[in-house]
């Protein structure tokens, strides 16, 4: 009996202790990932965090292309209750960093030498006033064409080498009753086409001048008119039911052979893979056709708001370290469809599209041909990219002339300056 009592007492003492050791520090993250593959990919990061002794408190706000999450964030910052960790795309993080709301991660960057591990072109979105404020987990490529191989074979067309060739293939596809381009009348989906034409036809240097520097001469140049003219030739390449179609529904049209091609970032790849289709066999992925190879990126980063709480600060550091862990980057991106932000991750386990993306990135960095995507907020601040979206969207669905579109673009950009 005595022994039993002793055990009981020991457990009574030990239990709370054990519980204390198990109790993890909670770290809250606000993000926009709500689809099945996104949630699964995020779990790679949060599992890593758990091994480091931190429990991820999930605050996912999906919908409205990220606007809902931005609204939630603003409300919480205004109420003095910012989340410990926030997902940022493009200029979103820079805006908050300028307001001085984000914690500097300079110590971690210096200690781990992360700066050298990342593509130099990324750094401008991670750093404000010599302070690193976020860490990137991935890199998506925007300028992809996703195509149905069986449809290509049936129509007797091959991978186009130029936009003119792509448009010519479109006529052949229409002849066999296939929608050449799966898309929607949503302005941003039209803009995905526009920005690809912009850089493919005029070269990366022009893209930088027009879409990043917003140089007025470039914006009003004949090159810009030509870009709109080519976009105009694509007006008849979609089906009648394109109103309000979700991008993933458009991807599915390509996957099931109703349509031949879709111009979309590599987040579309998951839709093919989920159907058990294989790259190169059932579907094709190739960069938008150009004589001047280029790479347009979109990536997700996570930063931390300045909160005066030692536990939260430790948690924010842990999140940054987990995100920059090469193994985490590899496993995360295998699920998400993008490639690792880090340059030193082995690509052996990835599919051919991702391998192509990775090797094209290396090449584009060498050639200064890598720039942020306009549509997805990595070229200019939202008030300018919004103008591009308005004009391009309106141009495509009406019979607006290329000259009028260029004029509207120049006026709109100047008005937003």
């Amino acid at each position: 009996m005595n022994k039993f009592k002793l055990i009981l007492m020991a457990t009574a003492v030990a239990l709370p202790l054990a519980e204390q050791a198990m109790a993890e520090t909670k770290i809250e993250g606000l993000h926009v990932w709500t689809s099945a593959s996104e949630v699964k990919a995020l779990k790679v990061i949060t599992d890593k965090l758990a091994t480091m002794g931190f429990e991820w408190q999930d605050s996912a706000v999906g919908g409205a292309n990220g606007a809902n999450a931005q609204q939630a964030l603003r409300t919480r910052v205004a109420a003095g209750n910012p989340p410990a960790i926030m997902q940022f795309l493009g200029f979103e993080g820079l805006g908050w960093a300028k307001e001085g709301a984000l914690r500097s991660l300079n110590d971690l960057y210096a200690k781990n030498g992360w700066k050298a591990d990342l593509p130099p072109v990324m750094l401008q979105f991670l750093e404000q006033d010599a302070n690193f404020f976020s860490t990137p987990i991935n890199m998506h490529r925007q300028n992809w064409v996703w195509a149905n191989k069986a449809v290509f074979d049936k129509a007797g067309i091959s991978i186009p080498a130029s936009w003119d060739e792509l448009i010519a293939s479109g006529e052949k596809l229409k002849a066999i009753g296939v929608t050449p381009i799966a898309m929607s009348d949503e302005s941003w989906q039209i803009e995905e086409l526009f920005e690809s034409i912009l850089i493919d036809v005029n070269g990366p240097d022009f893209y930088k001048k027009a879409a990043i520097d917003l140089d007025e001469t470039a914006l009003s140049s004949p090159e810009m008119i030509k870009t709109f003219e080519i976009l105009g030739k694509l007006r008849g390449m979609h089906d009648a039911g394109f109103t309000g179609r979700d991008w993933s529904a458009a991807t599915n049209m390509v996957a099931n052979g109703q349509a031949a091609m879709q111009v979309m970032g590599d987040w579309a790849k998951g839709e093919f893979l989920a159907k058990g289709m294989k790259p190169g066999v059932d579907f094709l992925c190739f960069p938008t056709p150009t004589a001047t190879p280029n790479y347009k990126f979109v990536f997700d980063t996570f930063g931390g708001f300045t909160i005066d709480n030692a536990d939260i600060i430790k948690g924010q550091d842990a999140v940054a370290e987990a995100i920059m862990d090469p193994e985490v980057q590899k496993n995360f991106n295998l699920i998400k469809g993008s490639i690792p932000a880090r340059l030193d991750v082995s690509m052996d386990d990835f599919d051919d599209c991702a391998k192509r993306s990775f090797s094209d990135r290396v090449e584009a960095i060498k050639n200064n041909a890598i720039y942020g995507s306009l549509t997805d907020g990595f070229a200019v601040e939202p008030r300018f990219s919004g103008v591009f979206q308005d004009v391009v969207g309106k141009f495509f669905v009406t019979d607006m002339s290329a000259e009028d579109a260029v004029q509207a673009l120049v006026d709109g950009i100047n008005n937003a300056r």
């Binding site: 805006g95 009648a240 109103t243 309000g244 939202p382 308005d390 969207g393 309106k394």
Partner: protein, 298 residues
């Protein structure tokens, strides 16, 4: 002296004011204080977060130089006029017809009122499919054999706003009908009987006697529908998402995208002030004239 009034009477005098005070305070703060705050922001250079400087009316200049804002204002006018006009007329007509002591009135009333029970998101999504030329009405008619039939308003920028009108009318007509029906039931039957004895025809009775007596119902319908029109936000987002090519932009969706998508909080605040001024300019004189004539209000 108040001392001569019994204590319970004094309580009774103060009670209404005491009970109303909290809600009055809440209204003062969350409505009027924030209206002032928005007005202040609209005069500042605020971008991603509020900034309390002063830049004069430059955000208003920027707002009125934005073509999308012109589209939004134009759409609001088209939408409000058509939506208010059609919904009121149809609602009145349906109420008068239902009031003719017909069979299954209860069931019909429920059917007409049902759309009101749906949220605008549901209405918008359903009509998005119904109006989609590859899925909805056009496809059904084409499949029936009339292959040249075209109904693709939702894909045509100059017609898309009428699609929004159709969906909104469908949703709100039953509601207008219910209000008018309540008004009709409140009219003393003896007035109509007297007119009939005098030999007045039924259309004349409705035109000259019944409809003028429905004035309070008209007031409720018009005020409630105008505010549905101005705040029509969810319907647009679900039905057209302001497309094609911003053709169905509304001031409310413009305000949302400027403030939360494009980091132009100053422009967003300026557009909100313009919406407020529109409401004030239209609704207030109407309310004033309606409430003044009856003397004591409703």
């Amino acid at each position: 002296m108040s001392g001569s009034i019994p204590f319970s009477d004094r309580i009774a005098n103060w009670l209404p004011r005491l009970v109303l005070a909290p809600s009055l305070l809440v209204v003062l703060v969350v409505v009027y204080l924030f209206i002032c705050w928005t007005g202040w922001i609209s005069l500042s250079s605020s971008m991603i977060v509020p900034k309390y400087d002063f830049v004069g009316l430059s955000q208003y200049v920027r707002l009125w130089s934005t073509p999308r804002w012109h589209t939004a204002v134009f759409n609001l006018v088209i939408f409000s006029v058509l939506f208010l006009g059609i919904t009121t007329l149809l609602g009145l007509l349906m109420a008068i017809l239902l009031d003719q002591k017909i069979r299954c009135e209860g069931a019909l009333r429920a059917i007409f009122l049902y759309p009101m029970a749906l949220s605008f998101i549901v209405t918008g999504t359903a009509w998005k499919w119904i109006l989609n030329p590859a899925l909805g009405v056009q496809k059904v008619v084409n499949d029936l054999g009339w292959t040249s039939f075209v109904f693709d308003w939702i894909a045509r920028p100059s017609f898309a706003i009428y699609c929004v009108v159709i969906a909104a009318v469908w949703q709100s007509t039953g509601f207008a009908m219910a209000l008018f029906l309540a008004g009709l039931r409140g009219i003393d039957n003896s007035v109509i009987k007297a007119a009939q004895i005098e030999g007045a025809s039924l259309p004349l009775i409705y035109r000259q006697i019944v409809i003028p007596m429905l004035r309070p119902a008209f007031l409720s319908v018009i005020v409630l529908l105008s505010y549905i029109a101005i705040k029509s936000f969810d319907l647009i987002l679900a039905l057209t998402n302001t497309g094609p090519g911003s053709a169905t932009e509304m001031p409310s969706t413009f305000m949302y995208s400027a403030t939360f998508r494009r980091d132009q909080m100053g422009v967003g605040a300026a557009s909100a002030m313009m919406m407020l001024m529109t409401v004030v300019a239209i609704i207030v004189p109407y309310l004033y004239s309606e409430l003044k004539e009856t003397g004591d209000g409703h």
